[in-house]
């Protein structure tokens, strides 16, 4: 489990952007997650080597941030917001609906590896509540019907 030569060149380029190369740790961890699917302990140790950091300090960073997955995730991530404006707009019902449709609780992944379901804190799209982040995009003004269409389209 290593980066390609091009990726390593990118790591070095990123490290040079920061006054202390450790600043590139988050971008490189994003890269690792995109490349390897999630950030395993092996990946953490590998990245630690690229920064001459102890593996424990990389593990600290990975366990601190919610966007880093330490276990394999589904091909798609559906993260439904549960904070105040979304709650007022019916987030609990949306969450229950997704749970019923997928048969899993927030934090779990469907058995076929298709979708990881999460309930998350404010995504700052409150004007279009209730909403969710599906992979890289925001899906807003959710209704049960809209949720069904979105889930259907996720292969």
């Amino acid at each position: 489990m290593t980066f390609s030569p091009d990726q390593l060149a990118e790591v070095r380029r990123l490290q040079r952007l920061y006054p202390d190369r450790r600043g590139a740790l988050l971008p490189v961890l994003h890269m690792a997650q995109e490349t390897f699917g999630h950030i395993s302990l092996e990946a953490e140790a590998y990245v630690a080597g690229l920064f001459e950091l102890s593996a424990a300090h990389v593990h600290e960073v990975v366990t601190f941030y919610t966007l880093f997955f330490q276990q394999p995730k589904g091909r798609h991530v559906v993260a439904v917001c549960r904070n105040l404006s979304c709650h007022l707009a019916g987030a609990p019902e949306i969450l229950a609906h997704v749970k019923a449709r997928l048969g899993i609780d927030p934090g779990e992944t469907t058995e076929d590896g298709r979708i990881t379901f999460q309930s998350v804190e404010c995504l700052c799209a409150c004007e279009a509540a209730p909403m969710a982040q599906v992979d890289d995009r925001y899906e807003v003004n959710l209704t049960p019907e809209k949720v069904d269409r979105i889930l259907e389209a996720l292969r």
Binding site: R22, E60, R82, L84, S85, H87, L88, C122, C126
Partner: protein, 406 residues
């Protein structure tokens, strides 16, 4: 009140591109600023009465002037695009719709504080805004606006509300956990990578080009005596037209709710969160407050990030507190003891209350614990939690007591 300063470009097709931005006066302020001495730029921003629009409301010009004059090493400009305060979404609009306004604001600010390097920390969940903004940075480099004395590094976060706290952001930028730093030293003295650093909110910097183009006095005149300009109010919750609204900071909360179409659902107002999730709640009787920094402070609350969440009569205040208590427990970074231990405990108590297993003692315990922790922590995150903990229970006590068994 209707003048659009920050949102002036939003309706234009391709408003996010350099060509369209330039077409409508973009980067003219930067051209003007390049002829002005850094110290004079700082003075101009001071006179505009611009106050930080990310949450703390600190006078921006004053903040810029804290960089030690004797410092000969690097100075960094850091932009806080880690928008995360519940009820707030204005920076997302700026990043997507007018990224060049932020870049122009950064260029001017960098000149004022003598920074050659700027970092823009974009929350990890904001993928589209990050792509939009990065593309604008690329355009600016190609046009020679950047790379000629000022560079911008765009840095994605990875999911942690605490990275919106300026020194938590700095720690994250440095490749660590988003743990806020013990102060002193303050960032202007020793910030990112141990150098003097100014951290400004996206919207705050977007105000800077208009201030330079049209003058501090003009900007100051748009607002109130102690805060200049307009700002973008994020209005959501039980209103008919949730959206971002730009108005003078002299607007009252009542007027703002009307602008947003009035109360939805039951149509009757119960309460308003006026300044993002961390702001003490206001009752329906308290909405004639002026929505500037000092107006809300006088009313016992805060304008914060200007995230306005409206609750109607049918909304449950205990549930609202539970949602926020869960948020604070989840987002506590864990570094210092009062916050780490009590945010989790208080959430358990509120959850138990909402589930019907609470006691009246619990209400007093929550308030007492919150008061004991307020002002004792490394950063203001806990004080932000204390806002809801105390105000929701104090102002709506009977609703909580109705849920208690004893």
């Amino acid at each position: 009140m209707a003048e659009r300063v920050l949102m002036r470009n939003f309706e234009r097709p391709n408003c996010h591109t350099l060509a369209v931005y330039r077409e409508h006066g973009g980067y003219a302020a930067w051209d003007k600023a390049r002829q002005i001495e850094p110290a004079a730029l700082v003075e101009e921003v001071k006179h505009s009465n611009l106050r930080g629009l990310g949450g703390a409301g600190f006078p921006t010009g004053a903040k810029w002037s804290f960089i030690p004059k004797s410092h000969t090493g690097p100075v960094y400009l850091v932009v806080n695009a880690d928008e995360g305060e519940p009820g707030t979404f204005k920076d997302r609009y700026l990043l997507e719709k007018d990224p060049h306004a932020l870049i122009e604001g950064m260029l001017i600010a960098a000149r004022a504080i003598r920074a050659a390097l700027g970092f823009v920390y974009v929350r990890g969940e904001y993928v589209q805004p990050w792509r939009r903004f990065s593309a604008a940075v690329q355009e600016a480099y190609e046009a020679g606006l950047l790379g000629a004395g000022f560079d911008i590094v765009v840095h994605r976060g990875a999911g942690a509300y605490i990275c919106g706290e300026e020194t938590g952001l700095i720690s994250s930028l440095e490749g660590k956990k988003g743990w806020p730093k013990v102060k002193p030293p303050f960032p202007a003295i020793k910030g990112a990578f141990a150098q003097p650093t100014i951290v400004n909110n996206v919207e705050t910097l977007a105000c800077v080009p208009p201030i330079i183009s049209r003058g501090a006095a003009w900007f100051a005149g748009l607002g109130t005596k102690t805060q200049g300009g307009t700002r973008m109010y994020s209005v959501s919750g039980r209103v008919k037209k949730p959206a971002v609204y730009e108005t003078s900071v002299s607007i009252t909360l009542r007027q703002l709710i009307e602008l947003a179409g009035g109360v939805s659902h039951s149509g009757r107002l119960k309460a308003v969160v006026p300044g993002g999730g961390s702001a003490p709640i206001l009752t329906a009787d308290e909405i004639d407050v002026v929505m500037d920094v000092d107006g809300l402070k006088a009313a016992g609350s805060m304008i914060g990030s200007a995230g306005v969440i409206v609750l109607d009569e049918s909304a449950s205040i205990p549930e609202a507190l539970m949602v926020l208590a869960r948020f604070y427990a989840h987002e506590s970074c864990g570094q210092c003891t009062p916050c780490r231990e009590s945010t989790g405990w208080i959430y358990k108590m509120v959850h138990r209350l909402v589930d019907g297993h609470g006691r009246k003692d619990d209400l007093d315990t929550i308030i007492d614990v919150a008061k004991r922790g307020a002002g004792t922590t490394i950063c203001a995150f806990y004080d932000g939690a204390v806002g809801p903990y105390i105000s929701y229970i104090q102002k709506f006590r009977s609703e909580f007591e109705a849920l208690c068994r004893s």
